[in-house]
């Protein structure tokens, strides 16, 4: 086991977006610790704020974003209250692989040209020859053939484009990769091929991977640690295996019961209602309107994260 070194840590981090003259807080009081050299998964449904957390970590928040709290990456405080300073971190220490590979690749340049630009930007001293060999190395790292060097993005299949986007992300030799839904909209076997490629690279390059997904089965396959996000906060955090097989928080429990299981015709759990929208989070525990176990305290006061059997969980049921 790798010594547990925190590479990214947030303390009471809040991220919101200006909206109608006010600020809609999407992420609130987030305490997340990302350990070096592990795959940490952020699981949650759409609108829960997982992409916002990812963008905050990668330094890709839009100008109309507002923050509070603290975010430290690689011993640098990048978010301090309302101040955001990612100089030297963004695109160098932390990179993000976007959900849609087509948005990361320039349709007018060949894959080789794009990778060369990325390599030259980060390693200005390299000669043409060295740049090319480094690009070819990157391509072979993501298991693409040398012929891809000459090809344009439209000549690649969906799975190959994702690989090319991953190669592009690796070019600056980052420490942390934030992969935002890297497996969405892919066929089943391609999903796992991309996921296992990321896991392989993470090991070989000793990277820290923050894997954002809503797909529990892929999460189970690649992740060491899991943080379940609901309404902009972490409701359960711990080792992936434990969390995804014996969940503590009612939300995760219901979520796992809502997944169709092969050869089982048992009725799926109906989580009533929908996840709350940012800016309209309920009082108390944010899950209480949908929770089958909710009692009075749940809608009055928000539970803090508590330690239960080596995991953190945000639920009043685990208090006394």
């Amino acid at each position: 086991m790798v010594a547990l070194v925190l590479i990214a840590k947030s303390e009471g981090l809040g991220v919101g977006y200006e909206h109608d003259g006010g600020v809609a807080w999407v992420v609130e009081n987030l305490d997340l610790a990302v350990e070096h050299g592990l795959v940490t998964c952020l699981i949650g449904e759409s609108g829960c704020g997982k992409s916002t957390i990812g963008n905050a970590m990668a330094g890709l928040l839009p100008p109309y974003a507002r923050t509070y709290g603290k975010l430290v990456i690689s011993s640098r405080t990048v978010i301090d209250g309302g101040k955001i300073d990612f100089t030297g971190i963004r695109g160098k220490v932390v990179v993000r692989i976007a959900q849609d590979p087509a948005s990361a690749l320039n349709p007018y340049l060949t894959i080789g040209e794009q990778l060369s630009i990325a390599v030259k930007t980060h390693f200005p001293g390299l000669s043409e020859q060295d740049t090319k060999s480094k690009v070819l190395e990157l391509l072979s790292d993501v298991m693409l053939g040398e012929d891809v060097y000459e090809r344009y993005p439209h000549q690649l299949s969906g799975g190959m484009k994702r690989r090319a986007a991953i190669a592009l992300a690796l070019a600056p030799e980052p420490k942390i990769i934030v992969a935002d839904e890297p497996t969405s909209a892919l066929d089943a076997y391609l999903k796992y091929a991309v996921a296992s490629l990321l896991k392989k690279l993470q090991k070989e390059w000793e990277l820290t991977l923050v894997f954002i997904t809503h797909d529990v089965s892929v999460a189970r396959y690649v992740c060491d640690k899991v943080a379940v996000v609901y309404a902009g906060r972490i409701v359960e955090e711990g080792a992936a295996l434990g969390c995804l097989t014996s969940p503590l928080h009612p939300y995760l429990e219901q979520l796992l019961k809502a997944l169709p299981r092969r050869l089982s015709k048992d009725r799926l759990a109906d989580i009533p209602g929908m996840p709350p929208r940012p800016g309209a989070y309920p009082t108390g525990c944010k899950f209480h309107p949908r929770c089958p176990y909710a009692f009075e305290k749940c809608w009055k006061e928000e539970p803090p994260l508590t330690e239960v059997g080596g995991r953190s969980v945000r639920c009043w049921r685990y208090h006394g």
Partner: protein
């Protein structure tokens, strides 16, 4: 089992696409190459396959959006392509359709109530009857009546999908075709929709054809499963049999995608040869020279593979 509600016989269909590159002109891309399927009343047929396997094209062809190049589609014994336009429209009412992405298929500026009532308009029912039926259908789908006045664009994905299902069942169809009904939804909304679909089937005695790339979603509501690759059905059988004991190597991969160690690809070439011949573990010389035969392994199980032919 009686006679099938829907029978698809040797169905072929193609799209015409530009040549691309420096060439002018068009070429044909075959999306369906001889599909044979039977759907019996009151059952659910699940169709699984990767992207580009022809699942959606199959549904579009049954609906009449695309003309078959060859083969027949029989609905209650009637050949759909031989029906006159009036009769064809009547039959169309008996086939409901839930499209892939509700936000793309429902008029965003139309009140939800009107969207749901739209399929009833050609029936020339009285406003009162229409109102009543919309109310009943909305209740079936757990849609609050107050939503009726909202515009479709104000609804969330899960709600829109319910509206799409309401539209599909309001003309009291016998058969409902569902094209990836949950692929755009979150896990919790997916569970809600799948449960609703199962309840509706019981309540209304519907027959479903559900298309999905997620074999677990399909297995939850299907009685039979057909696996499609490159425009052909490569395996078909009772859901439990297919899930317990997949015969075709591609089905095994769909069921166990994390076990894939080597690079696999599907060859969508213009030949009728086996689409997985490049990486199949059972590859033989025959596979590279002759198209694979449909082998009936048991009474209700077929597979398209040379391995089972002898």
């Amino acid at each position: 089992m009686g006679s099938p509600l829907l029978r698809v016989e040797d169905l072929h269909a193609f799209y015409t696409v530009p040549l691309g590159g420096a060439g002018f002109g068009y070429r044909r891309v075959w999306a369906l190459r001889g599909v044979n399927l039977d759907v019996f009343p009151g059952t659910t047929l699940g169709i699984v396959g990767g992207s580009g396997s022809g699942k959606t094209t199959l549904i579009r062809t049954v609906l009449g959006f695309l003309k078959p190049a060859k083969g027949r589609i029989l609905f209650r014994g009637m050949d759909l392509s031989k029906l006159g336009s009036k009769r064809r429209r009547e039959v169309a009412r008996e086939i409901g359709y839930v499209p892939q992405e509700p936000s793309q298929s429902i008029n965003p500026k139309m009140a939800v109530k009107d969207s749901i009532a739209e399929p009833l308009r050609p029936l020339r029912l009285s406003e009162e009857d229409i109102e009543k039926r919309v109310g009943v259908v909305m209740e079936m789908l757990d849609l609050d009546l107050s939503i009726g006045r909202m515009l479709a664009r104000e609804l969330s994905g899960g709600m829109l999908q319910r509206v799409a299902i309401a539209r599909a069942i309001i003309s009291k169809p016998k058969l409902v075709l569902l094209d990836e009904p949950t692929s755009f939804l979150d896990i919790s909304t997916q569970a809600q929709i799948l449960n609703i679909l199962r309840d509706l089937k019981e309540e209304l005695g519907l027959t479903y054809v559900i298309v999905s790339h997620d074999i677990d979603v399909v297995s939850y509501i299907s009685d039979r499963i057909a696996v499609m690759v490159s425009g052909r059905v490569i395996e078909e059988g009772a859901a439990e049999d297919v899930l317990r004991e997949p015969l075709h190597p591609y089905t095994s991969i769909l069921l166990n995608p994390e076990g894939v160690t080597k690079e696999i690809s599907i060859v969508n070439s213009e030949t009728d040869l086996c689409p997985i011949r490049s990486w199949c573990p059972w590859k033989a010389e025959k596979c590279l020279s002759k198209p694979p035969p449909v082998v009936a392994v048991s009474k209700e199980r077929t597979v398209l593979c040379w391995y089972f032919a002898d």
